[in-house]
């Protein structure tokens, strides 16, 4: 599913060079649930965004679902995200002007073609336990509810891969457990998950755990 080799990412903060990724290698098979742990600022989010084609590495190669993310055009990369990748960010990322159901079906309106499958959206909301909030606006929901809706949105296009960046940050213990159960259920249904977190307690939900250290991934 994922094959990343020698990923290097550098930024410049004035004269100073910042190198969050320094020759990172990573592979992930279809159906795996990989947890990437590490302290804040170690490059986990940058790495995840490279896997999703949201930013490009300075050097290195990334293959996702057989596509070379460095070689393909921006439009092809967008198509790959639409067809194969679901994102769950640390923030919910819902559009405040749209209702819950409109947020869940947003990708079809903005990137897809053909009719919106409202029934699937309703089923997904039911699956995350929020079908009764379909017509609510994001401002009317709690933080935990918003994150569950973000998961429903990520699943809308039946992606082969879900990239989740600290999805349980800022949640209470009970809501965190509910969310992780949901991710485990999604993974058992066949979706590959790569999740970034600083919370090693979540390791029990994953099939594999790796740690980001000094710009490289090492097994835990």
């Amino acid at each position: 599913m994922i094959e990343a080799m020698g990923l290097v990412k550098t930024y410049h903060d004035g004269e100073r060079e910042i190198r969050p990724l320094d020759g990172t290698d990573f592979t992930c098979s279809t159906g795996e649930f990989v947890l990437i742990v590490g302290r804040s600022g170690t490059g986990k989010t940058t790495f995840l965004n490279i896997l999703g084609g949201l930013t490009r590495p300075t050097t290195g190669t990334v293959l996702v679902a057989g596509k070379d993310l460095i070689a393909i055009s921006d439009a092809d990369c967008a198509r790959l995200r639409y067809q194969s990748i679901g994102f769950v960010f640390q923030f919910p990322g819902l559009l405040s002007t749209l209702t819950v159901i409109e947020n869940v079906t947003l990708s079809i309106g903005i990137a897809g073609s053909g009719p919106v499958d409202v029934n699937r959206a309703r089923n997904l909301l039911e699956r995350v336990g929020l079908h009764e909030k379909a017509m609510s606006l994001p401002s009317q929901l709690s933080g935990g509810e918003l994150k569950r809706i973000a998961i429903a949105r990520a699943l809308m296009n039946k992606p082969a891969l879900i990239l989740a960046d600290e999805p349980t940050a800022d949640l209470d213990v009970d809501t965190e457990r509910e969310m992780m159960e949901l991710f485990r259920e999604i993974n058992r249904a066949g979706t590959t998950i790569v999740m970034v977190t600083h919370n090693l307690d979540l390791a029990s939900y994953a099939s594999r755990v790796v740690r980001m250290e000094k710009g490289k991934l090492v097994p835990v």
Partner: protein
């Protein structure tokens, strides 16, 4: 994507409301000037068409007064010798002529303002008689008058001028010109009225024998009207010729100041609003960086982001354009008479064709301004790396 554009506009009412008002102001400024000019032009054309003449010959020294009578309904009395009538008839290209006598009343029982009495000869008239025959199937009788649309009184009512009583035989449709405040009488009745005024009126009126005020001319070939006009002025000294185009040009000259102000207003509105709208669009795009990043993560291409931002701006401009045109149109129609008095021009409601053309042009310019204002933020947002947009923005 259209649905997303509509929802984004509806659910951000304050920012978009301000933008809509800016675009409405641009559209209203663009629309109003052209609308006034078209209204004045259509008014003159319809007035001249009502007279049924291609050319109006007036005394050279009284051109301004005759324009005042025809365009603004400002009553005036002026004459020249009726020997010009056979001379005009003999000019090549002239088919028919109709002499008229203009008499201004100082006051009348009918109105608080003076009116213009126009004496016509029913045997030669091609202005009023055909209209009367068509509408009432009888010619103008003794002591009967036809009145313009702004003269109070219905058909059958009596009006007294200089102590002479007349009966209203017909009322003309509004033209927006001086005809609306004119009263048409038979020439022989006008002379009787003048004679009686010596005994009955406080201030008598005198109409000399053997005079006319204006000669309406119908030419054989309307396309040749300009040449006939030229020949009349060349061959008959002391005459001046008024045609539809010269009257329209007079009105346009008068309106020039107003139009210049309106155009300047439109230009200032556009020049001031364009950077403001662009700035608001840039600020809006900055505020929505994370939203743009999320959309990119969901699979939106750069083109889609560009289309989304341009589409929103164009839709806001379109709403503002329609609003501005509609409101300014309602105001112009409601205050039409007041504007006509203020600008001293005849003003009619422009034809549907003129209205559509003016409104369409104002609308298109407003929408183009909307698109241009959003070009830079749309381009910048589209080129932004999704991760950078997500990291630096707020939702």
């Amino acid at each position: 994507m259209l649905g997303l554009i509509v929802k984004n506009i509806i659910r951000r009412p304050v920012r978009n409301g301000a933008l809509i008002l800016s675009f409405a102001f641009i559209a209203a400024s663009l629309f109003s000037g052209s609308y006034l000019l078209a209204g004045a032009s259509d008014s003159v054309k319809s007035g001249i068409s009502r007279l049924g003449a291609n050319i109006i010959v007036v005394p050279q020294n009284d051109t301004a007064e005759s324009e005042n009578v025809l365009l603004r309904g400002e009553p005036s009395t002026f004459f020249f010798d009726n020997s010009v009538v056979p001379q005009i008839e003999n000019v090549s290209g002239v088919e028919e002529v109709e002499p008229q006598i203009f008499v201004a009343t100082l006051a009348a029982s009918c109105c608080s303002l003076p009116v213009q009495i126009i004496a016509i000869d029913p045997s030669r008239d091609f202005t009023i008689t055909p209209w009367l025959t068509k509408n009432q199937e009888k010619p103008l009788g003794m002591d009967e008058i036809i009145v313009g649309s702004k003269i109070p009184g219905d058909v059958g009512a009596s009006l007294t001028f200089y102590g002479h009583s007349f009966t209203i035989a017909g009322k003309l449709e509004p033209t927006g010109t001086g005809i609306d405040t004119s009263v048409f009488v038979r020439t022989q009745d006008a002379y009787v009225m003048a004679e009686e005024s010596k005994e009955k009126a406080l201030v008598p009126i005198e109409i000399p024998q053997g005079v006319v005020s204006a000669v309406l001319v119908r030419v054989s070939d309307p396309r040749d009207a300009a040449n006939v006009s030229y020949r009349i002025m060349n061959q008959i000294p002391g005459t001046r010729v008024l045609t539809t185009s010269t009257l329209v040009s007079t009105v346009a000259d008068q309106l020039a100041g107003t139009i210049r102000i309106m155009n300047l207003l439109a230009l200032v509105a556009t020049l001031v609003s364009l950077p403001l709208i662009a700035l608001i669009s840039v600020m809006g795009a900055n505020e929505r960086r994370r939203e743009i990043g999320v959309l990119r993560a969901l699979g939106a291409t750069r083109t889609k982001i560009f289309q989304l931002i341009i589409g929103e701006s164009v839709a806001i401009a379109a709403i503002g354009g329609i609003l501005g045109i509609a409101v300014s149109w309602i105001i112009l129609v409601m205050f039409q008479s007041y504007i006509a008095i203020l600008t001293r021009i005849p003003l009619a409601i422009p034809s549907a064709g003129s209205f559509l053309s003016i409104a369409g042009t104002a609308f298109i310019i407003t929408v183009v301004v909307g698109g241009l204002a959003a070009l830079y933020p749309a381009w910048r947002s589209a080129l932004m790396e999704p991760y950078e947009a997500i990291r630096s923005g707020e939702l």
